[in-house]
């Protein structure tokens, strides 16, 4: 591959690097405002209850308290999909649901005021989990959703939003199968991606109907769009993004905290900041969706899939914002990894009286795959097939295709990822380590190891429209106008590289606008895997457009056609005639050139990630450890070598691989309280227990944009959990189908404890 790039693929530090390492990077809570009030939220102690009465008079009388709001005080503003969830309601639907908002001059006064609000609840029977929610006659979380089933489909994916997968003839497919397995498989530990920065917002209301919102979201322009609808299309919103302390997909769900700040600012006329405590972040923001797959799969002895049939139950907690979208994308992603002619995959989204689930890195696909691969594993075992070979064989290849989120069929026009998979397997030593199903790779006294593999691919690399402006100035500089808040992927710096490559000017000659909806065009935000291809294309197109306009202006002056011009370092030259040139300065200081770039969705390409995991099991204590991890992918072209390394290392954190090892949200079964909403009891990986990790990143040009690259960071987490389950099953010699594989589960599987019986030791 030719490598004539100045910036693409070079190990260049991020442009915000110095700010980050000196503490100068400004995150939401670092912003300073004059006259600022602090908002706090009173939350429900019941999983399900109706509010009979709220007495806020004592709280309002506390000096320093400027507003106390309950459901009776606020407009009928609703969010969610469908738009059902009131910002404050007369009913509470989980332990932690908001019942009142307070704004005060200090956080401590606001806290004190919360204690003075008296709420009289009528406690209702609750449905904490899917089993109870789906029982006939179960209490309803919403009257609007009979049977606690939330309607499928989301308007943003169009009228034919993918709601399930129907294709071919499953009866015929099963008839052709050599092996059929079926069962119920779950990924129901609702882990939390848990970025270090808690969610929050600051709002400044302006009468009669304008508001500026600063938020922790990485997609500020979409905040504007979301809030516009939440506020009944009656409020004009300006949204501003800052440095974001991690998101992992979750922080596009900030509409509630934003609405709290907006309501309090509207009530007080002052800027109001609401930043969740870490406990609120864990217990009252967003979790992964719980996934349960009841399904049947048919496979031939050569590893060809013949039929997939079943129902996918998705527990979204007390409301859905993106769950329908995750079901659509997740279903499409299953088709990408399981090229099978015959499908009948239905789904139900279930609402329950626990904290909400929603958008998280892996977006439906990780959840479905973590349920599907265990089912497929049973079939592979029966047919005595090597899982690596089967996963490689069934991943989409040129000539294949899939339904995507809008319900349309897409013929895949990308590359064959087999080479990346083979290289990964070789690096991992798959062939040497694979001993067959339910057979350990090594046994050393009580310590055993086993291996597992998973794969994931995602066509949302080209999802949703993106827009950017690139402005050229006479002094040889350019400015990118783009509504993206940096949340850790380094993409903002990568857009500068892309524009710099198009315009051939040094990186430090390019400025970037703040992520402010008042000054930038529309942008959906760096979500899914769309950063590199979708947003990158908008920036590239804007830079190309600006360059074209510059050439159009300079062509007559140089006596040449625009297409005969080129530019580098602020000088436009006639190709092949270096003597014929003009500096950008010739524009004059009273003119700028503004390029506009837009990208329209393209679902004909996908990315790919294969994870290989070796897990260790102490068969005496039941403790599971990660012994080694290898990720394999092909990205077309590496834009940012240091950045992609970090993104792939990220497979372990943010509710990724470790959701199979120790990450889980623990709900008290009898009451619905989240018992581990803190960083001691919610387990996360520390420096002391890092497994050896290696990445295989190939660069086979992919027909995306001019740099032939696709984004891949998002999906580094997705194939990991099921690979761990497979690895532990092989190490122990018995199937594990529940996440995470805790010591209890291992010891139980080994027959050392009987957890069903009280006093179960034997």
């Amino acid at each position: 591959m030719d490598d004539t790039y100045r910036y693409i693929g070079k190990p260049i530090p991020r442009r915000d690097a110095a700010a980050i390492v000196t503490g100068a990077a400004v995150f939401l809570d670092d912003l300073r405002f004059d006259n600022l009030l602090h908002g706090k939220v009173l939350r429900s102690p019941h999983a399900h209850a109706r509010i009979n009465r709220i007495d806020k008079s004592k709280a309002e009388a506390l000096p320093g308290v400027k507003a106390v709001l309950t459901w009776e005080d606020i407009p009928d503003w609703r969010g969610g999909t469908p738009r059902t969830v009131r910002v404050l309601d007369e009913k509470v639907r989980y332990v932690g649901d908001a019942t009142a908002l307070v704004a005060a001059t200090t956080p401590e006064i606001a806290e004190e005021a919360l204690d003075l609000i008296e709420v009289d609840y009528k406690v209702l029977p609750a449905v904490i989990d899917m089993d109870s929610a789906l029982k006939p006659g179960a209490p309803l979380v919403y009257d609007e959703f009979p049977g606690n089933i939330v309607p499928g489909g989301t308007i943003i994916y169009g009228p034919n939003c993918l709601k399930g997968v129907e294709r071919g003839d499953v009866a015929k497919g099963f008839a052709e199968a050599d092996v059929i397995t079926e069962g119920t498989f779950g990924y129901e530990n609702i882990p939390n991606a848990l970025p270090p920065e808690s969610v929050g917002a600051v709002a400044q209301w302006e009468e009669p109907d304008k508001v500026t919102v600063w938020a922790t979201s990485q997609a500020p322009y979409m905040d504007k769009v979301t809030l516009f609808h939440v506020f009944n299309r009656q409020v004009e919103i300006r949204s501003i993004g800052n440095h974001v302390g991690g998101s992992f997909g979750t922080k596009i769900m900030c509409w509630q905290v934003q609405a709290y700040a907006v309501l309090l600012s509207r009530a007080t006329g002052r800027p109001v900041k609401v930043v969740f405590t870490k406990e609120e972040h864990l217990a009252a923001f967003t979790l992964r969706v719980a996934s349960r797959l009841q399904a049947k799969v048919g496979i031939k002895n050569d590893g060809t899939l013949t039929a997939i049939q079943g129902t996918w139950y998705v527990d979204t907690g007390y409301y859905s914002f993106t769950t329908q979208a995750q079901v659509a994308v997740g279903s499409g992603e299953l088709m990408i990894m399981a090229q099978c002619p015959n499908w009948d995959l239905k789904n139900f989204i279930v609402t329950t009286n626990r904290n909400a689930s929603g958008s998280t890195r892996g977006f439906g696909g990780q959840e479905l795959k973590s349920s599907f691969i265990p089912l497929l594993s049973l079939a592979m075992e029966k047919a005595d097939l090597d899982p690596f070979e089967v996963l490689k064989k069934n991943f989409v290849k040129p000539g294949g295709g899939y339904f995507w989120r809008d319900g349309e069929w897409y013929d895949y026009r990308g590359i064959d990822y087999s080479k990346a998979m083979d290289t990964g397997a070789e690096r991992f030593g798959w062939k040497e380590k694979w001993k067959g199903w339910l057979k350990p790779t090594s046994v050393d006294g009580p310590k055993r190891t086993g291996i597992g593999v998973g794969v994931h691919g995602n066509a949302d690399i080209g999802e949703d429209a993106a827009e950017a402006y690139v402005q050229i100035d006479y002094n040889g500089t350019a400015t990118i106008f783009l509504c993206v808040a940096e949340h850790g992927t380094g993409q903002k710096s990568n857009y500068v590289r892309m524009a710099a490559e198009v315009l051939q000017i040094p990186l430090d000659r390019i400025a970037m606008s703040p992520a402010d909806s008042l000054v930038t065009p529309f942008e959906f935000g760096p979500v899914g895997s769309r950063g590199t291809y979708a947003i990158g294309s908008a920036v590239i197109n804007a830079a190309e457009d600006a360059k074209q306009k510059l050439f159009d202006l300079f062509a007559p002056k140089l006596g040449a056609d625009p297409e005969d011009l080129e530019t580098a370092d602020g000088v436009v030259t006639v190709k092949g005639h270096p003597e014929k040139s003009l500096k950008w300065r010739a524009l004059g200081n009273d003119r700028t050139v503004l390029g506009y770039g837009r990208f329209e969705s393209d679902f004909t390409l996908c990315n790919c990630m294969m994870s290989f995991v070796e897990a260790g099991v102490d068969t005496e204590t039941g403790k599971v450890s990660l012994e080694s991890v290898v990720l394999a992918t092909d990205v077309g072209r590496i834009i940012d070598p240091l950045g992609i390394e970090g993104q792939l290392n990220g497979c372990i954190g943010s509710a990724g691989i470790d959701t199979a090892v120790f990450e889980e949200t623990i709900l008290n079964p009898s009451s619905g309280h989240m018992l581990n909403p803190n960083l001691i009891d919610y387990k996360w990986r520390t420096f002391e227990e890092l497994p050896p990790i290696e990445h295989v990143v190939l660069e086979t040009p992919i027909p995306s944009h001019r740099f032939n690259a696709v984004g891949v960071g998002e999906i580094s987490t997705a194939p990991g959990p099921s690979a761990v389950l497979m690895a532990v099953s092989n190490a122990v010699g018995t199937w594990f189908h529940e996440y995470p594989v805790t010591p209890q589960k291992v010891l139980k599987a080994l027959g050392k404890i009987d957890t069903e019986r009280r006093g179960g030791s034997r």
Binding site: P11, P13, R14, D16, A17, A18, I20, V21, T22, G23, A24, A25, V26, F27, D29, D30, R32, T106, E108, A193, L194, P195, P196, E197, S198, H243, V244, G245, G246, S247, F248, T277, K278, H487, G488, T489, G490, L642, G643, E645, G646, Q647, N649, G650, C651, I652, G653, S654, N678, L679, I680, W684, R685, T686, F687, E688, L690, I693
Partner: protein, 178 residues
């Protein structure tokens, strides 16, 4: 309690009226009180640094002593500023992330530069705490092993998994000292 004999009328506990300490080379003295410019007994050091002194480089994540984001150096040791009452900091010498730059030249500390060179962060929220933890380690021990670095940083939370690149960065500083 039956065996408490002190007479509340004759004994008055000594009150703390002012607190003085040095942050990044600058001495600050505060009255104890409830005004915004004063130190309340309930104020944690992380609150005082961020809200009273405006040094927002110190981050608060869990606010419970489990994540290391709020790590600062106090009298040479890496400590958690969310688990220290400011009123108990009288006479202390504190360094925050803002105080790592060379004072006159503004040059970055070699640790900061190594974090830049090795892309040892993603979202960057936990980075100030990691750098301060590293600084305390390297001040105490000029050539720690990789294992010692991992142990020193074992109380620093990161969800992006910057860990591997952080270790590389810190090792590069150690290497450059040889």
């Amino acid at each position: 309690m039956t065996d408490i004999q002190t007479d509340r009328n004759t004994f008055t506990p000594p009150e703390v009226l002012t607190v003085g300490f040095t942050v990044n080379g600058q001495y600050h003295r505060f009255n104890v009180g409830t005004e915004a410019h004063e130190i309340s007994p309930t104020h944690t050091l992380s609150w005082t640094l961020r809200e009273t002194l405006g040094l927002t480089g110190t981050k608060v994540s869990c606010d419970q002593g489990a994540c290391g984001c709020c790590t600062v150096i106090m009298d040479g040791k890496a400590v958690l500023s969310c688990k220290i009452l400011t009123i108990e900091c009288d006479g202390k010498t504190i360094t925050t992330i803002e105080g790592l730059k060379e004072r006159t030249s503004g040059a970055l500390d070699p640790i900061q530069q190594a974090f830049i060179d090795h892309n040892a962060f993603q979202c960057g929220y936990c980075t100030p705490g990691m750098i301060m933890t590293t600084k305390a380690l390297l001040d105490e021990k000029s050539h720690p092993t990789e294992q010692e670095i991992k142990e020193a940083l074992s109380g620093n939370f990161c969800r992006c998994i910057s860990h591997y690149q952080v270790i590389t960065a810190v090792l590069s500083v150690v290497e450059s000292r040889k």
